[in-house]
Amino acid sequence: MDLEERLSLIRRNVEEVVTEEELRALLETNERPKAYWGFECSG
């Protein structure tokens, strides 16, 4: 998957990316960056 495909996957349907430039730079330099989503356990 090329850079533009990866970027468009991450960006689709999102409310905002902070910042677009940082995300692009990250994907340009890091093949396997680390992302997280935290959830409160509340059913």
Binding site: M1, I10, V18, K34, Y36, W37, F39, S42
Partner: protein
């Protein structure tokens, strides 16, 4: 787990995995304790975290594609608490109060337990301690992430990029279901106040609802004709059905124009705004598509009923 979490968050997590990310699903058991979820009963909170893992697996995020970390896994390390305290020392009390809507608390709330003030500091420390490059969450978590970015610059930690997803609206539409004020911006404030919430079952679709329940809930949903925005049924197409299936099939009888398929949400939006699609046809087609998307979840819990049954028992007694 409702479809806002299971399918809006779930499909974004799948996007990240497909884009080559290492993805951590962080189960915030200590944060839930602070926020008095399940009356602060840690055993029930952990049971719920375990149920979440089963739901995500059933939705198509297998355990070997994602890493689960519990807050409990971090808190044994004193260097974690060092980060919490650094964040707390670097932020004013006002700033922390302003971040409290991340816990579903009113911005002006002051009659809180003191432990609530730890919550935003821990959420920021979690990001630093796990060394994440991208913090992902619903737009209601924005204030915690902005605090993380400012704290990172001030304290010399890696500054996370952030991806914020929309909040899926409850089926009863854009109306305030939660008391209080959650954001300075009125439009964001309304989005947070209208989001799907499991505490109002008729307004929420759960990932394990059967097709009959799904269609009866959708039939009762707010869905004004010709109005595509702030319309929860249209939002389900935009945020769930299109990303999951890549298309939306409108099923209707010949006398009303016959079936139609949409491959772009913008085309559906145009037709709906022009009054070419009746809300009832839209609703029936949305119910059918959702039932199809959720079929694997139902069959997963049919062959593996224990986690769901335990969760239901806990919900009834709380």
């Amino acid at each position: 787990m409702h479809i806002g979490m299971g399918l809006v968050c779930g499909s974004k997590i799948k996007d990240f995995i497909r884009a080559g990310f290492e993805f951590i699903i962080f189960l915030a058991d200590w944060h839930s304790w602070i926020n008095n979820k399940f009356g602060g009963d840690m055993e029930k909170i952990r049971m719920c975290g375990d149920y979440f893992k089963h739901c995500f697996t059933a939705i198509g995020i297998p355990e070997d594609k994602v890493k689960y970390i519990w807050a409990s896994d971090l808190v044994g390390d004193s260097s974690y608490w060092e980060k919490v305290i650094k964040v707390a020392k670097g932020a004013s009390l006002n700033r922390i109060f302003r971040a409290l809507p991340i816990m579903g608390r009113d911005m002006a709330a002051r009659n809180l337990e003191t432990a609530a003030l730890l919550y935003p500091c821990m959420q920021v420390a979690d990001i630093f301690h796990m060394g994440v490059d991208v913090a992902c969450a619903g737009i209601d978590q924005r204030k915690a992430h902005m605090l993380a970015r400012d704290s990172a610059q001030k304290l010399g930690f890696k500054e996370p990029a952030c991806v914020h997803t929309p909040l899926l609206m409850g089926l009863s539409g854009p109306e305030r279901r939660m008391e209080g004020k959650f954001d300075e911006d009125p439009s964001t404030d309304l989005k947070i106040g209208s989001k799907m919430s499991k505490s109002i079952p008729q307004s929420s679709i759960f990932v394990h609802d059967d097709p009959g329940t799904i269609s009866s809930k959708i039939r009762g949903a707010y869905c004004p004709p010709k109005v595509p925005d702030n319309n929860p049924v249209m939002e389900i197409v935009r945020l769930i059905i299109m990303p999951e299936l890549g298309r939306f099939d409108l099923e209707r009888s010949k006398e009303y124009g016959g079936p139609m398929s949409f491959y772009e949400y913008s085309d559906l939006r145009k037709s709906y705004s022009a009054g070419e699609i009746h809300p009832l046809d839209l609703k029936n087609s949305v119910s059918a598509a959702l039932s199809k998307i959720l079929e694997p979840v139902r069959s997963y819990f049919e062959s593996n009923p224990a986690p769901l049954r335990r969760m239901m028992e806990v919900e009834i007694t709380r």
